[in-house]
Symmetry: C2
Subunit: 331 residues, 2 copies
Amino acid sequence: MASLQEVARRAKVSIATVSRVLNHSDKVVPDTRAAVEQALRELDYRPSRVARRLRMNSGHAHLVGLIIPDIQNPFYAEIARGVEDAAYAAKYALLLCNSDESPEKERFYLDVMRDESVDGIVLPPFDETDVAVIEFLKTGIPVVCVDRSLSKAKTDLVEVDNYRGALDAMAHLIAKGHKHIGLIEGRAQVSTSRERRRGYLDALAENGLAVRKDLMRAGDFKQESGRVLANELLDLRKPPTALFVCNNLMTVGALSAIHQRGRRVPQDVAVVGFDDLPWAEVLDPPPTVVRQPAYDVGRQAMELLLKRIIEPARPPVTVRLLPELVVRRST
Amino acid sequence: MASLQEVARRAKVSIATVSRVLNHSDKVVPDTRAAVEQALRELDYRPSRVARRLRMNSGHAHLVGLIIPDIQNPFYAEIARGVEDAAYAAKYALLLCNSDESPEKERFYLDVMRDESVDGIVLPPFDETDVAVIEFLKTGIPVVCVDRSLSKAKTDLVEVDNYRGALDAMAHLIAKGHKHIGLIEGRAQVSTSRERRRGYLDALAENGLAVRKDLMRAGDFKQESGRVLANELLDLRKPPTALFVCNNLMTVGALSAIHQRGRRVPQDVAVVGFDDLPWAEVLDPPPTVVRQPAYDVGRQAMELLLKRIIEPARPPVTVRLLPELVVRRST
DNA sequence: TTGTACGCGTTATCAC
DNA sequence: GTGATAACGCGTACAA
């Protein structure tokens, strides 16, 4: 744990000189430079990121935060991976936190980010009006939203065309002849939910299909709610012949509910999910899904963040990526 | 971003007094305390974790590191979740990094941990002789190993009884009448691989079954290697009738290879995996696995770490958790 | 080209 | 009880 002081002493120079050979490699004569470098090596010197961060105003921490709702959700894990890869490529470290879809945890970690003086953060806001995030913007620390957007603030944003994805999913189901399609959506206040629901409704309307309110259920993005809501739907007097399930975990829940009832997919009920599932090929059945390019979402978000750290005043940009319908055997 | 200075000025006291009302709530008369607290509120003061960390020697960062090989692997995601929950409960933030089973990335993040002066780290070492981790121990920053152990250093450790797990898996297969059991293991230098292989061999020996070297293959813990090695084994002149696959991702790879060849599980080949798989009930077939209590591994590791942070000199302890054979329909 | 000295925001040790 | 003040390790004007 050698400090600049000790290195300077050993090299018989001042700390300023040591600092100079470390940073702006300018103006230092080869001789002293060599001496300093040797001392550096001998003491195995490593600069303290903490002291550096305290000294520099901001944008030099080489540390960014990522707050995701659930690290065990493969969709977010993939985003995290994209962010991580881009961060690592730029030699940035990542303060990764798990908000558990809980505003309190989100707020706690947002505070940590601020108190740690990170260079920026990326996160999917809890919902469209996430006050904790809005509040955080005041710190001036750059924020890039991913997946979900904020309604009353403009930040950099990387999202997927959820409306288009829902349209594709519904078109596919309708082409298969389904007229009664159940919707299992997520929390209504989340931008992705709103867009997917809009796609569901528009697809119905454009194809002259009636909207049945009893076929529309809202869950919480978790597996259990997919199970429960699928059961509710299938218990209906006039059950749907197909399900459009708006995220990966709820799709698994729905699938397992259908299995448990001894019904067959897709013969008895067809299912289209949102988000691809890992190991889709060994699922029973391999599910048809709207695949989101989650890795790219993360990667591009991090790249946007790096640009903004360098140039804080640049106008916010929105990157909208295209989802892709992957037809497998659940439809 | 108000500092102690500004709060002090506003409350017309010294920074020492402000610091006192914040920390040791001792010795400060109600009047001044009230004034300070009001200033604190008005300025929305938040202490800088960075400055605090620079000042305090160690053990007060309220920040710990977690380095895992692959955040997209559900086993590690579950460990991470356990660590995270225990950390959050103690109001610690987590610097979570993804080493990608790469020694260089591991070293980079280890350096970050050191340079950030974290209070401690938890990680599964790359292998038994992981030099980067051994080196890191010299910093004096507490290290808790999870899942995998170090052969030439004693640290706190939370592991699973891998030998017992392998024994159970093999006993199950042997009871089903299998005599030619293929082994797909991970990198040999990893403690978990060694133990599982030992279980495999001992089970064979104890049941008077011959060891066939051609039935033993080593992969890299990733899905692709499971696929490739399963194919190699099934291509054998005398292929195994059952597979013992030593981690989750390789199990998925093996399963998909078998599917692709049009063979049935378990009729043509039985499969036991190590590590449970999420959504096992919707897999085809639901796999029989040796389930590791990954969440508890993470939780207990973090609890061990917290204890060590408080009491750095306590003797290292090893916690060994029991795995559980979950019999489903792949055997 | 190199060295001195200050400040970043804390905590802690002294005096008063 | 409270207030100066000295660190912690670093970057950088400014002086030499």
